[in-house]
């Protein structure tokens, strides 16, 4: 039960931060990065729960879309998280800059396909803001993992850094 409440709360803050950033024209995937963390630390089911709780407000309120298309991009992020957990041998926190840089790319490409009415024009308009998003995400993900693991340790919740050990 505490896991569900924890995920609900953090997803809520991530969605709010992402919506506020979008309102001023900035693209930063707070929700995508949190879903990456949750999938590894808590499991795929909790990853999909966080994805559903994030996709609904981001699409209905942020984009005015009729369907939660972001579930598709978040599913790809969950896939990336599973791949990183199962296939990548290194446990270095700094190496997580790579998936951190990949997550904005996945979300941005899917958003371009499903939400924008003229993808070509939006691609040209927003590509300059996409590169800083990748850079800052690459820096943000290791910090996020460290921060949430510190918090989870106090709350006796599963840790990201123990996920690989739990697999073995």
């Amino acid at each position: 039960m505490i896991k569900t409440v924890y995920i609900f709360l953090i997803t809520f803050f991530s969605v709010l931060a992402e919506l506020l950033f979008r309102n001023i024209g900035l693209f930063f995937p707070f929700c995508g990065l949190f879903i990456f963390y949750v999938t590894t630390a808590f499991g795929v089911r909790y990853g999909f729960l966080a994805a559903f709780l994030a996709a609904c407000p981001l699409d209905f309120l942020g984009n005015g879309a009729a369907h939660p298309w972001s579930m598709i991009s978040f599913s790809a992020v969950i896939g990336l998280s599973c791949f990183w957990l199962h296939r990548v041998e290194s446990e270095s926190l700094f190496l997580h800059s790579l998936p951190g840089a990949a997550v904005p790319g996945i979300i941005w490409i899917f958003s371009l396909l499903f939400f924008s009415e003229s993808p070509g024009m939006v691609f040209l308009d927003h590509f300059p803001s996409f590169l800083p998003a990748c850079f800052f995400s690459a820096l943000f993900l290791p910090l996020e993992i460290y921060f949430f693991d510190t918090l989870n340790e106090r709350l006796s919740l599963p840790l990201y850094t123990n996920a690989k050990l739990d697999l073995k």
């Binding site: 919506l19 693209f27 209905f60 005015g64 009729a66 924008s116």
Partner: protein, 298 residues
Amino acid sequence: MIDLNRRPARKKRDFFSLQILLWGIGICFFLLLCFGIYSMLRRSMERLTMDYYYPFLKIARVTENSIADKVLLMQKKTTLVKALRILQNDNTILAAERTVVNDLKKENAELRALLGLGRKGTFSPIFAEVLSRDSMTWQEQFIIDKGSRHGIEPGNPVVVTTHIGNNAFPAVAVIGKVKSVSGHTAVVSTILSQDFKMSVSLPGSNSSGILEGARKITDMRAILRFLPLQSTPASGQIVYTNSFSGNSPPGLPVGTITDYTRPSAVSRNDQIYIETLIRPFESPAEVRFVAVFVKDRK
């Protein structure tokens, strides 16, 4: 002689066909059920999430506005007094014009009653502020902080204050229309959105056409289609809303015709209607405060 060995094989085939048919019906029913559950849940989640996050986004907007007000107070008193005098002047003119409009409305209603015509629908404006946008649809869509609880319905026109031509006095112009509503919010499709369609008329020739959003790569313009061949659009001409749909008050300016070149007599013989491009008065990207025209309930 009847071959007894064939009977069980035939029975097996018939049973197999029946199995496939039943599986097919079962799968179709299951998919329909899933689709029905998804549609029901989608609408509920849409309304729930839009209204749940509304207070938090509204707090952000209120904070922005308070900071803007505080910054305004830091200006010199003489600047503020000058701005106040201009606003008082504009308010006086608007109040006088409103008195004339109310008188004309009353006269219109009396004349319609005399002629035995039905009561004309009237519209009231509701002030709203842009609550959220997305960078992917920055020009095409935004969400405002008023919804069905304020009487807003899908299809209501959304207007913005702008300056038309050389007129120093501001006027309202259509910027979009409401696409969907929840309790406290509404999604607005702007003139440049592909979801936007509105019936508009050219003054003078009384020709009407359908304005559709189609953002051009070089410039932000919408397309006015299905104009009759005998209509005479001219560059710089303003197009207005009409009362055909019943969802918008007539006479609201929508945009101006840009770069219209009349097709030659030869090419016109093959056409059944003409098209032209319309530029909106205001860029949807810069809109912050809008008004929504809501039909008065009888």
